[in-house]
Amino acid sequence: MLQNEAEKTIKRIQAQKGVEGVIVVNAEGIPIESNLDHQRTLHYTYNFQQLLARTQKVMKDLDPQNEATLLDVQTEKNNILVSTDKDYFMIAIKNPREGP
């Protein structure tokens, strides 16, 4: 039941205009869902997992009771959102020119 809900949500986000890609990564750091090609998926997963880990460390250093829930990386070309909850995280790549 829960898996179905999750899949529907992911598909809905992936179908949004302007969304270039969505990657869902599990607790082991393995991408379990992606609409990008394998190489790009791995590249993004590895890089953003590292950045997310670093971000969490910074947040814990500033306040041991706090932790990051969303990392919003805005670049000149696009927007990469890294959302995290417990052990999973999700990467969404958005193109600002199109979509909402």
Binding site: N47, N66, L71, T75, N78
Partner: protein, 87 residues
């Protein structure tokens, strides 16, 4: 410098803003509305994180660059704007 002061005042006067720090190119806080030790701590950690984020962006696409970084946490939100001279 006046421009920096004006920007700082403007941001700090927005409802919900707890603190504003302006860093120079070396990551040293040159203006802040927070106390010195907090400013230095935030500046140090976030400057490093911003460098790492920039590196990540360039790694994925060498033609791209970081322009803004936003960290949403349970308690608050930290926003880092990367300018040419200041951050």
């Amino acid at each position: 410098m006046a421009e920096v002061e004006d920007t700082l005042k403007r941001i700090q006067s927005i409802n919900g803003v707890i603190g504003t720090i302006v860093l120079n190119a070396e990551g040293i806080p040159i203006r802040s509305t927070l106390d010195n030790s907090t400013s230095v701590q935030y500046a140090g950690l976030l400057h490093q994180l911003t460098m790492k984020a920039r590196g990540t962006v360039r790694d994925i696409d060498p033609q791209n660059d970081l322009s803004f970084l936003r960290i949403r946490s349970k308690k608050h939100e930290i926003m880092v704007s990367t300018g040419v001279k200041y951050a």
